[in-house]
Amino acid sequence: MEQEFHIAERLDRGVPVISVGGEIDVATAPQLRESLHLAITPEQSSVVVDLLNVTFLDSTALGVLVGALKRCREFGGELHVVVNDARIVKIFEITGLTKVFPIVDSLTAVGAS
């Protein structure tokens, strides 16, 4: 059974960690966009996006992440993507975004827990 889309936000050592689960597509991506927009500010310019429980994502989701990355960098920060599902990593690879995003396979790799 497909996992229901959900977003959870927390602070880990002062850095926002946005954990997403389920499918991120044209229907659910706006919720992620909103969460990221609220999380990224001039005072809080870096964010971790945890996609470990994401089962599917499309170009709309990638567009939201690219937009958030631009916002982070505009404020001097960075957006880290955590993903370890080969199918999801493949989508970043085929769009060339593995060269754009710092992508790691675990939360500990970005200093979060």
Binding site: D25, S59, I91, T95
Partner: protein, 141 residues
């Protein structure tokens, strides 16, 4: 005798649903079932599931789809699956695609280019149609 769990050469399946983003999941579900029944392996099936979602997005891009339908057609051939997605009953775009739309369109194009063998998009005054062809790695079961 034809196996009832498979789709053979010439078989066609159609799906029509309101052109709403929250219903694109229906296209992906149907693509999964048809791909499996047309003899594609699990990796190809995942590729097609993603690709069909992108086809729907391409058909929706730049159009006033609030009142239209998306019409999908899946056709099985000897070595491939052809899928088309046509936006019908919606007004064509009055404005050029926005900057965000251009970026999304580019990502969709990149995904399709990587996952399928051929794809395209055609827009005229009355409709938008996106299509793809994915060839099967193995023979038709």
């Amino acid at each position: 005798m034809t196996d009832p769990d498979t789709l053979g050469v010439g078989d066609r399946v159609g799906l029509v649903f309101p052109a709403r983003g929250d219903l694109v999941v229906l296209a992906r579900l149907v693509a999964s079932v048809i791909s499996a029944r047309a003899g594609f392996d699990i990796e190809e099936l995942e590729d097609l599931r993603l690709a069909v979602g992108e086809l729907c997005l391409l058909a929706l891009q730049g159009s006033d789809a609030r009142h239209g339908d998306l019409q999908l057609e899946f056709t099985v051939s000897a070595d491939a699956l052809d899928i088309s997605c046509t936006l019908v009953g919606a007004a064509p775009a009055l404005q050029p695609i926005t900057e965000d739309g251009d970026e999304a369109l580019q990502l969709s194009e990149q995904i399709l280019a990587a996952l399928v063998d051929e794809h395209g998009r055609h827009q005229d005054d009355s409709s938008v149609r996106a299509w793809l062809r994915k060839r099967r790695r193995g023979p038709l079961a």
